[in-house]
Amino acid sequence: MTLLHICDYGSGNIHNVERALVRAGAQVLRCESAQDMVGARAVVIPGVGAFGDCIAALRAKGFEEPIKDLVDSGVWVLGICVGMQILATHSEEFGHHQGMGIIPGSVRLIPGQTPEGETLKRPHVGWSNLYSGETSWCDSPLANVDQASPVYFVHSYQLVPDDPAHVLAYSQYGGHPIVAAVRRKRVFGVQFHPEKSGHTGLRVLEEFVKLVKAGSD
């Protein structure tokens, strides 16, 4: 039986996300239309590239309202990278774009300078550690993550929730805290790429799979 429905709106990293989820023990279904998502227990939203392109593609395929309805009915959600960012209310990347508004907050450019005034390269690319956010990692995909183990980031923007209590984890870049994971009830978003974060990334996906298995009636 399908455990995870992957939202396929044309995101480039969907194959790698799918392979990693299978490796983490999930039966997955790649959904090319909203009909495919009927009855889903959990939805995974991948995403790479620009916010505006991703949300436009997702809307064009008619996924927005069904995803919101599924969230309202208590379905688990995992957004990855830009798939996390489009959960926000809006983004300032290349103009102003409305997101799905599932996690109230805005997507903003990461800092371009260290607190000492040194230039910081954007995008932030590479392995960085995760630090506790405002909310516990218990019963979250990060439950089994060792804080000493880094995960892989490629991004220039971050989702800043209106309510800091929605921040599950931070990372650090050039002396600044960067939002690395968010949570609102059963909706999770990770800014890093679990599908490229080695064994630590697979643990994150495994924990999500466990939550879905344990938490769906």
């Binding site: 480039g12 194959h15 790698n16 392979r19 990693a20 490796r23 983490a24 590239g49 260290t114 040194e118 390269k121 995008p123 690319v125 590479g126 392995w127 060792d146 000493a148 183990s149 880094p150 892989y152 490629v154 050039g174 002396g175 599908e195 490229k196 974060s197 080695g198 064994h199 630590t200 990334g201 697979l202 643990r203």
Partner: protein, 261 residues
């Protein structure tokens, strides 16, 4: 602020085989690249680099298949290079599961391809591959193509500056003189590239002992080190490298490699 240095396993591929040469020539078969990549993943490598050394149409098709198979059970960023001539070639590798592509020959012939790939996939996905050979007169380095076999009369440093302007996100510098010789990196070459490029630089070619890695990072300013021979022949392990760099106050990623899967 201390930077974190990346350790990259470089696998040169010919047909379905992992090979190892000297000065990018004189090739010996080492084994199955997928198995080696998997083993490095389980030892906590930061990234994998596949370089196709045949670069024919047949080679490219088999390379895409190899990338697909590898990304089934190797979950770290993967760069693929060698023989990528067109945007369609790049698309094929990205679809197969690559995160970045490395381009040398095609970029020397038509530099615009660097900008085109960076636009389509982002700068972080576009790695300029430079094969550099010291000029006999001691006057810098010349860029070579086709695995260090063909001269171009292009100055490496000028070329790197141009490529950075075209939007490459990373530079892989391979010393043709040192590749496969285990006599140490060409540290001056790496330093010269680092000094003109504001993007990360990967040093490749020549690692023979642990101190070579320390040297090219400390003196050369390398952001990442690509290692082939000493890893493939198990003369140095990733664990040895991490420990040695850590002892020299160089920050590296310590990955969770618990084999729970």
């Amino acid at each position: 602020m201390k930077k974190k240095v990346r350790l990259i396993a470089r696998l040169d591929i010919k047909g379905p085989k992992l090979i190892k040469g000297v000065n990018l020539e004189g090739v010996r078969v080492v084994g199955d690249p997928h198995e080696f990549a998997k083993s490095y993943f389980h030892q906590g490598v930061d990234e994998i680099l596949y370089m196709d050394s045949v670069a024919t149409l047949y080679g490219r098709n088999s390379l895409a298949q190899l990338v697909r198979e590898t990304t089934n059970d190797v979950f770290v960023p993967m760069t693929v290079g060698g023989g990528l001539r067109t945007l369609a070639d790049v698309d094929e590798m990205m679809r197969a599961g690559a995160d970045k592509v490395a381009i040398n020959t095609a970029a020397i012939r038509r530099p615009e391809i660097l900008r085109e790939v960076a636009r389509r996939y982002g700068s972080q996905a576009m790695v300029l591959s430079v094969e550099a050979k010291r000029r006999r007169d001691g006057n810098g380095w010349e860029a070579y193509v086709d695995l260090g076999r063909e001269k171009t009369n292009v100055d490496v440093i000028e070329w790197v500056k141009q490529a950075v302007d075209l939007g490459v996100g990373e530079i892989l510098v391979t010393s043709v003189d040192r590749e496969g010789t285990r006599t140490g990196f060409d540290v001056e070459l790496v330093r010269a590239v680092v000094d003109v490029a504001d993007v990360p630089v990967i040093a490749s070619g020549g690692m023979g002992k642990l101190d070579d890695a320390v040297d090219v990072i400390a003196r050369g300013g390398a952001d990442a080190v690509a290692v082939a021979h000493v890893l493939h022949y198990k003369q140095i392990s990733l664990e040895n490298m991490r420990q040695c760099l850590f002892d020299h106050d160089i920050e590296v990623s310590i990955h969770d490699v618990a084999t729970h899967l």
